[in-house]
Symmetry: C2
Subunit: 114 residues, 2 copies
């Protein structure tokens, strides 16, 4: 593959690493994981999300108990300021990634949609 | 958002545009679309793929007639050298995009998997 592309991708990778959004996300992530109780709430929440997504993709039924458990975990997450800050930082980073993808995929977009 | 990221993404976009893989893909695409009969075979094939994917995602049954039609279209595509060359070029471009994504997503990968 053209070394130009790899080089440009590596430059982009480095600018992401050095970006305010990524550094902020890392800090919020470290804040959550530095506190055992907060870490547990967050891990439970993520595992629940993953579990429900997997079930949905496989067309499996979600039980009443799982719905109630999910609601409790969402409430626990919403009441935790460190996790709220992490989710916000993740959303910001996700916006950055979306903008990057839009730019990088433009050549292929144009090829297929013109 | 940091202008650095947007600038780096735009540089990457430009290197993609100028890459041998993208220029080759464009040529194969133009070859297919320059020929009406070939264009029709390719469009029918892509529409069939999209149709079957949509049905699969929505959990709908694929009819016997659709299976036979799909088989005929796959054969027509395989026997067409221009389309074969386009599919090959698409695969190569897809590999490039995968490598780019792997590099660009490394910071987030590391954050979540370390
Ligand atoms: Ca075009
Ligand atoms: Ca880490």
């Amino acid at each position: 593959m053209a070394t130009n592309i790899l080089d440009s991708a590596k430059v982009l990778e480095q600018t992401i690493r050095e970006s305010a959004e990524f550094i902020h996300l890392k800090q919020q992530y470290d804040n959550v994981y530095a506190d055992e109780a907060t870490k547990k709430i967050f891990d439970d929440f993520r595992n629940m999300q993953l579990n429900l997504q997997t079930k949905q993709m496989q067309g499996e039924q979600i039980t009443q108990e799982e719905v109630m458990q999910a609601q409790q975990q969402v409430m626990a997450v919403q009441q935790n300021e460190k996790i709220a800050a992490l989710l916000e930082a993740e959303q910001q980073m996700s916006n950055v990634i979306q903008q990057i993808n839009k730019i990088v995929m433009k050549p292929l977009e144009e090829l297929y949609n013109d």
